[in-house]
Subunit: 242 residues, 2 copies
DNA sequence: GCAAAATTATGACATACATCATATTTTTAG
DNA sequence: CTAAAAATATGATGTATGTCATAATTTTGC
């Protein structure tokens, strides 16, 4: 972890939501670091020392079960806050944050961050609403994991990534992930993602060129999120279940 | 929804975390209601009018996909806040809250609640930490849905319910749920829960008497949460994966 | 620039779980 | 108290997806 200093005090979640008069205090406390691809910013189980803001690069936030099974909870991009999942009662990170390309992060130690919250009630409220949104999203994904099949979840993953990372000039989703990472984010295995992506390619819903993914028929992808698609509607009778 | 008034201004999340001097204001704004078993306090998709506190009874908070598939996110008991999932950016409930036994709830309208947050920074902070904990829990359950099999998830469900609702004098978990609700909370179907509960009964891990569930071997149930249990450990070699 | 490591590709096979059907028992409402 | 509705019980059957094995290709580190 090498020190580096180039945060602009403008783009991160913290600076965007703090009083202008507080920015100098942040300036005085922040510490910037750069990390290489594959390095972890913190690990699941580590004590929480502070909070991070991503300045450059991409980070995956993930959680393990045993040594093999992994679930990726989110991909962070510049400006995003990282480590907020550790701010609950138990001051231990429930997730690992790993750089998936070279990153620059800004670190704020916990006690200064807590002071910042006290001084900026608006920040606390913003953060509260931010959590509320995250919770909503997490619980929607929970429902999808419980009830949707992989194809629908993959469609959701692709649309989500496209919304969050936009399109590169060439037209592909502007984040390059391994199939394994796509699988871990979707909550399935590499092999299944491989097969379902092939299926979508054959149906011309997407086009895949190495790690570049193009969405060809977004409307059809969105339909995959709907309740199916019933193999055959069976219960035709007028018995309405309330 | 019949009006009824017997909240004590002491036990709910709001009263516990507000300044004593603010309680009279709450007193003046709260409205209590009673509802029958099966009635919904609000529905997924409804606009958020305010927030509720459960005074008496039990409520399930759930989310649907289509008309059949349901996932229960939590069971609320007296003192719990309900409806906080609707406080994100979009003012629409992402869940339904349904009484599973007769309940008394206390309603606080949104604008007064927002004022309360402004006046009680400590409440805002408490609520923020509360969300942080909820998010952590939701994401742990997400991982479990993605990677654990039903038996492990059911073990977790039972231990969770026992921690949250305690034991009745007779020794059973002090909440009486239908198998369908247990299934919806665990993220599976009635039939599967039925079978896995039988299996656990045969193994003497639990004892079931109608809706009363006794945990006989908690240590063994906890072990079911660990990474398996590998059918056979295969890769014996010293190849360590980093 | 090359060896090692990671990623992608793909078929064969196993299985946990959902689905469907139907009967019985329990609970609820009028 | 009784009819209707809900919950429980249980077998038969299908399938989506995980697991395993192995090879080819791409990327990475020195």
């Amino acid at each position: 972890m090498k020190k580096y200093n180039d945060c602009d005090l403008k783009s991160c979640f913290l600076c965007r939501n703090s009083l202008a008069s507080w920015l100098p205090a942040i300036e005085g406390h922040k510490r910037n670091f750069i990390m290489r691809k594959g390095e972890a910013i913190f690990h699941e189980g580590d004590g929480v020392k502070g909070i991070y803001f991503l300045y450059k690069g991409t980070v995956k936030v993930h959680k393990r079960w045993g040594s093999e099974k992994e679930l990726i909870l989110s991909f962070a991009k510049p400006g995003d806050i990282i480590g907020y999942r550790g701010l609950g009662n138990e001051k231990v990170y429930p997730v690992t944050a790993t750089a998936i390309e070279p990153v620059t992060v800004c670190f704020i130690d916990l006690s200064f961050f807590e002071t910042t919250l006290e001084v900026n009630p608006r920040l606390t409220l913003s953060l509260m609403k931010f959590y509320a949104n995250e919770l909503q999203e997490a619980e929607r994904r929970m429902r999808n994991l419980a009830h949707m099949e992989v194809k629908g979840r993959l469609a959701e993953t692709l649309l989500h990534l496209r919304n969050r990372f936009g399109l590169a000039k060439e037209g592909y989703i502007d984040i390059l992930l391994t199939r394994q990472d796509i699988a871990s984010f979707t909550g399935t295995t590499y092999e299944t993602i491989f097969r379902v992506m092939n299926e979508m390619s054959e149906e011309k819903l997407i086009r895949v060129q190495g790690k570049k993914i193009f969405l060809l028929k977004e409307a059809k992808l969105e339909k995959l999120l709907d309740v199916k698609n019933l193999p055959q509607a069976r219960k035709e009778g007028p018995q309405k279940k309330k």
